[in-house]
Amino acid sequence: MKARAASTAVLSPPLLSFEHKRDAYGFAVRPQHVQRYHEYANIYKEEEEERSDRWKDFLDRQVEFTQLPINGLSSEDHKKALHVEATEQEAQVTSEEGTTGDDLSFKKPGSDGSTEDAKMECVPAPLEIKTHGVQIWNEIRPSLHAIEGMMSKRVNRKNNLAKKEQDIEIGRPLPPVEEVKSTKGASEEDSEEEFYDVERSDPTQDASSSDSVSSLGHSAAADVAPFESLVPWKEELECLVRGGVPMALRGELWQAFVGVRARRAEKYYQDLLGEEINSRDRVEQQNLQSENSNKVSNSASVSVPEKWKGQIEKDLPRTFPGHPALDEGGRNALRRLLTAYARHNPSVGYCQAMNFFAGLLLLLMPEENAFWTLMSILDDYFDGYYSEEMIESQVDQLVFEELVRERFPKLVNHLDYLGVQVAWVTGPWFLSIFMNMPPWESGQVLCLIMHNLNLIP
């Protein structure tokens, strides 16, 4: 893809217009991609409209589904909850009915003709700008609760599993490595099997009961575990995700997929950021002390472990430069987010590329939610990817190259002929988690990753 772009750039070299064109997300389109973006812009728009319709239909049915008495909540209660939470959402258009609030947000994706002329300069919808920086923590919209519920179950199950494993390790101080591995493997298989069984048995269950409503209510109240069996739309959801998530929904849906609420630990984010203030105080105290005792202060010792500070600082203005939402407030939020993650996981600290997903998440959701989402992507899905050695990312490239060799021998032969390694082309795609590479309008990869996040054992 990059190679192709390079060749088009050469066909019409310096005359190619360089002004920073922006896509529907407000991201700059790179100069070598501008032409192609122009060609495809209308297709993206049409696709987005189709996607929005499909999702709207799906979520409308979700609302009906959640209004059924589930988890002991009567539909009355649920409606109340809907209403309350809808009004809590500052950025959301306030409306009397929570459900209509959902509908409204679908009208955004560039379907009105007024954006026709300015489609290249299209600024992201006000929702995204407004939410970021203003809200630290916010819950997601009610119609996504069912999805969130399903995903959160997995988070909790995983947490429990981790706890059990910890217990085992504590119980038997030095377990042989293989044993631990085998128990882990077994539990993985178990959960996988359970998952598929549930899926298969699901339709028959539904068919056998003439009154599905009562059976749903009953089993849900009886036991929380088979919640996934109550999810007849699980496959549909996956299909929808594969087709891409419309822009207006991405932020909240990702949060639902990740299970932000289930992952969230109260105050954790604030405490991570609080360390800064504390350490600053410490430095000041040290300075005071050293002045008093006429000793040379070594404030350097404080700054040593946080060498990523300067690196983050350098990358702040280089993260989606010129994006309307990344003004000073946006940059400060980005700094906090990256700092908090680096402190949360010092073995990784800060790695270039993180700034892009962190920045993107900030555009799509409130700051603290962005932190929990970022954490789950980096810790669960990309463990070892951005560490000092970047081992996992190199492994992925080798595996991917093998796959390409197997599936596209002609392509690899040609690359070999040119002296180009597959990894040179695809490395940046993986490292940036497919951000920047395909145009945002078609960015399904991230959506899929988010969706599958909790499926990883």
Binding site: K2, A3, R4, A6, S7, A9, V10, P13, P14, L16, F18, H20, A28, P31, Q32, Q311, K314, D315, P317, R318, T319, F320, P321, G322, C351, Q352, A353, N355, F356, Y386, S387, E388, E389, M390, S393, Q394, N413, H414, Y417, L418, G419, Q421, A423, W424, G427, P428, L431, S432, N436
Partner: protein
Amino acid sequence: MAPVSALAKYKLVFLGDQSVGKTSIITRFMYDKFDNTYQGTIGIDFLSKTMYLEDRTVRLQLWDTAGQERFRSLIPSYIRDSSVAVIVFDVASRQSFLNTAKWIEEVRTERGSDVIIVLVGNKTDLVDKRQVSIEEGEAKARDLNVMFIETSAKAGFNIKALFRKIAAALPGMETLSSAKQEDMVDVNLKSSNPGASQSQPQSGGCAC
């Protein structure tokens, strides 16, 4: 087809610390533009440009790399078959200047003396913030036996000169035919063997 395949290709890899201006230099050369803010490069990025010199035409493949330290584990493979390594530092950052030694060492490890190395002091427009003098740069380049030039991608200063300097130093500038044997390993393997030229379209080989 024959004239296309005769175009000599050279790989230039750009190395140096984070935010010293590698992408800016390349963009200035490619599009003759400068923007105050570039996106940080993730991993690697490549572009190519045909350069028309008095006596011949060369195709330069420009490999832009990420500057952060941990990306160095990925860099050796980028360096491996490059003809030229452009090591960039920021004249307003002594640290970036000091780190060029590491980058040069990295290149020498991979390529030995079989590579042209250019040390580039960028951002000369930041007159008040300068931390590394031109004399220091020159001295270091002499010590390490590499070429040296100061540039400002922002002001457009010396960018063309940099690339002309590189082009003039490219091996095989004197005798085109012998150069083909030595430098264009990948291309030559095919073009020197007439039978093989049919298996892969020559034009395809030069299209990117």
